[in-house]
Symmetry: C2
Subunit: 120 residues, 2 copies
């Protein structure tokens, strides 16, 4: 059990990162405030802030002090093919009652073994 409720900076980071790169949060859309996020997930402000900081370092969000935090224009969304394949995998996994964590483990395992394998 790891992914049920985000409880560390890395998990919150990954959560927003996924939302942005998958297009669930579009260009210029506003994120909750650091305090709000901290409350929502029951973590300290510093933890939420650290996640935001990391996202900003990677250019996924833009933060202007009193204006809040927004998805950075442009850089966000991952290529459509990746998103679609991710959807397909999610559907297959849930349909087969395979855990999200297990699915991720499988993905990690094949990450450097594809292309050289049977394509069908």
């Amino acid at each position: 059990m790891t992914g049920t409720t985000p409880s560390s900076a890395d998990e919150i980071d990954a959560l927003f990162r996924g939302a942005i790169r998958s297009g669930q949060l579009g260009d210029g859309e506003r994120l909750p405030t650091v305090r709000q996020t901290a409350r929502d997930f029951g973590v300290a402000q510093a933890t939420a802030a650290k996640a935001y900081k990391s996202l900003e370092r990677d250019g996924l969000i833009v933060t202007r002090t009193a204006a809040g935090t927004r998805v950075a224009p442009g850089a966000s969304r991952a290529p459509q093919s990746v998103i679609e394949h991710a959807r397909a995998l999610a559907e297959a996994g849930e349909g087969a009652l395979v855990t999200l964590e297990d699915t991720i483990a499988i993905l990690r395992a094949v990450w450097r073994t594809d292309a050289t394998q049977l394509p069908t």
Copy 2:
């Protein structure tokens, strides 16, 4: 950076779990010894042992004291469709120069949002 070299019990767990469920390690195949794994990944024996313990709890491996540890017969492999979709996603991600970690974040994001979305 998280997945380059496993450095915690959970990561080692996930690594073998992925190898098994993806079929890279087949039924009855032998895993390295706890000591060996500890050496390989530069972690303490206790850490490697913890990972093995977790895998055994989930019925993925069978450990008999002096005979070593082997992949449990039967339960191992995930449905082929999941493996194939995982391969496809890996191929798409690498081709598009999307990080493994980012791809995982995207997968997490769509995990409970598929099927209700535009299927094509």
